[in-house]
Symmetry: C2
Amino acid sequence: MEMNFNQHISGQFNADLEAIRNHMMGMGGLVERQVANAIEAICSGDTRVADDVIRREDEVDKMEVNIDHECTQILVRRQPAASDLRMVLAVSRVVRDLERIGDEASKIAIHTLEVADNSSNQLCQQAMRYMGAEVVKMISGALDAFARHDVDGAIDVVRNDKLVDQQYASALRELITYMMEDPRSIGQAINILWILRAIERIGDHARNISEQVIYLVKGTDVRHSSLTEIEEQANKD
Amino acid sequence: MEMNFNQHISGQFNADLEAIRNHMMGMGGLVERQVANAIEAICSGDTRVADDVIRREDEVDKMEVNIDHECTQILVRRQPAASDLRMVLAVSRVVRDLERIGDEASKIAIHTLEVADNSSNQLCQQAMRYMGAEVVKMISGALDAFARHDVDGAIDVVRNDKLVDQQYASALRELITYMMEDPRSIGQAINILWILRAIERIGDHARNISEQVIYLVKGTDVRHSSLTEIEEQANKD
């Protein structure tokens, strides 16, 4: 009888853990679409898409608060230990990064509206498109790695973040050159600057999500660690 | 006997809670000094102060990881409930914001080194000094409010964040005008832009810390809420 009772409890517990993971993945899917749409909006100049991204930011925010609340409830009611506890803590950190990615997507959309109907939205188009596609891939890569407990996949994301940082630095130089050549465009070019920065920040958050995969699987906190340090941790048993 | 045992356990528990709160306050003190020194460095052009801020960022990072680890240990070992649980969760969120403030302080110091020995470090001096002083006050105000469970103090910080946002917008306009008048200075002016942005972000993080005071005292999650909504929550019993 007690055995059944415990099994019952543990079945519910697993269902709770499954639920927060699924909700996190659902939030991840929405956030990934928000970023892809924001990039699409800036590249095509389609203001309806930008409006839609801004409107849906609320949904992302609510998801963060709800999932974080679910995590707290599990901590209180189930008192998880070891890998279960790591799952709950990792989910609650990941949703925070997802929320910030949603924030950056919405900033991109806002600046898109500010440069709409203006020739300077053509500035750094190629860099934005390329970096944008890269960070969308990083978000989905980080979430896949989380779902599959895939440390190698997580490290790939950290590696790609370095590439995005380099692209960002080079796009910045291009933009500054442009501003010097055509000072009247500076006000508009600053909008492009914020967009490039937002894309670069999204890459950082995707990297943070990947770091939680390593925490989940290896139990080591690799925040603030370099790529080499992370690779070392990943190769430990 | 059992009574004594429980008292003993509960005494240790309180000591643990006290410890994370004290460590958080210690970290807060360091982070506040980092910001004050970064602002001092940019206003005085003293590169040694800037170097010192960059060097001490590691300390801030380590404090975050350590305190977050302590919080996890309390969750596992003590299984806190109600207001004790809120304390642990609030501390772990506050240290994350403190770490990000430390990050922004270090960015300010890095850009200070980039504009050193250049006349454009005089740009927006007044705005940087004023906004800088304001956000340092906000950090200490938010931490004081946390220590004293002072909801009104927390709301003051949220209110000041709005002022800093306005100062930021006006400094940005000033900077863009300057860039248009003297396009050769654009590269340097962009450094000032990042510094203004970092100061503005520090204000946002101080606001986040204040929101945790309301969570701690009232039990309501007010992230993503407007000032008015926060005031309403604060007035509830």
